[in-house]
């Protein structure tokens, strides 16, 4: 399958590389600069959509087309919502695939980043704006960064080191409860704005954001 595709691409003077595993694909995406990534879902070392999600999480801008046998509407919706830009199910016409690749390449790499929303809270990483219950709420920089980091993984624990890294990118900062202080201030604002989410501490590990009981 891959071989046939590579051959078709080569015949049209499209340069392409091929790898078999998610791990390799991730490495290639990290190093190389590609116009488009074509991805199957059922791969030797896992589910292709996990790679999509991982790349998007890191804000990797490469356009991604998922090409797979899993073709129900639900499959398609899942694929697109995981961050893929197009989804084509087998069987497919090679000409259509090529046209879709052209469309993706034409459009270029993404500039945008997904709106993060959870409960009645939504975060726009592009403008660093946060709205709660529909109205804009101002957050200072560091508080914003903490909240954004939490919102990138709602319902999941984000470790203290991760949070500190998110806020103090390179700068060194150790030995204080600065992070706790930020959390506290964020909580106060969430309360003020009547957010339906809350930040819970996970002892010895970190924090997570989740919907209020």
């Amino acid at each position: 399958m891959a071989r046939a595709l590579l051959e078709a691409l080569r015949r049209r003077d499209v340069l392409a590389d091929h790898v078999r595993t998610i791990a390799d694909a991730e490495a290639m995406a990290r190093i190389g600069t590609y116009d488009v990534l074509v991805l199957d879902r059922r791969l030797p070392d896992g589910e292709g959509l996990d790679l999509v999600a991982a790349l998007r999480q890191r804000r990797h801008p490469v356009p991604i087309l998922v090409l797979t046998a899993l073709g129900t509407v639900d499959h398609r919706v899942d694929g697109l919502d995981s961050g893929a830009d197009d989804y084509l199910a087998k069987p497919f016409a090679i000409e259509e695939l090529l046209a879709r690749l052209r469309a993706l390449q034409r459009r270029g790499p993404a500039l945008s980043d997904r709106y993060l929303s959870f409960g009645n809270l939504s975060v726009d990483p592009r403008s660093s704006e946060i709205s709660i219950a529909g109205s804009l709420v101002e957050f200072p920089r560091r508080e914003y960064l903490v909240l954004e980091a939490l919102m990138r993984r709602p319902n999941r624990i984000v470790t203290r080191p991760n949070l500190i890294e998110a806020v103090y990118a390179l700068e060194d900062e150790i030995g204080s409860n600065a992070l706790d202080a930020h959390i506290s201030r964020i909580r106060k604002k969430l309360l003020m704005a009547e957010a339906t989410v809350e930040i819970r501490a996970v002892r010895n590990i970190g924090y997570l954001i989740r919907t209020k009981a």
Copy 2:
């Protein structure tokens, strides 16, 4: 058909406008700012793909999804190659359409050199002219460049390095608050002209332009 779609979108709090003809669609695209354009092919006054081609010819950046009964592979290829970003044939599942619209909206508009307009401010990169509330306002070169860079990504943060790069293309220019000074002067002019947009600082990162509260 259009009514059903509008209803489905409205139910999900997606704002949408609907027109019946190519002429109207063209007018709307020219005036308004839309995240995505959904287009049928067989329209009362012509072939939808002609509109796609016309918009692309003018470098219109809006993502376009063609939604039509014409669903052969050739139809699809033609649609995509005319400049559309996605092509969905009837019959289709509403959920898939919505997912595809999300994907397009996520990715955002293509870069372009057409009129940049936001709020009551508009910038013509070709002539380097700026109008506020309909009347032309003179900006010196450097101020113009800063404002254009911001207007290329309204509501998004533009980093200081990006801005500096935009203004001082090759020349070396470090160690001063020249950029801040420009921003300040631009702000003064925006105020004078009663612009409905404002420039906000994002601490430690850069600036962004957005509509005034």
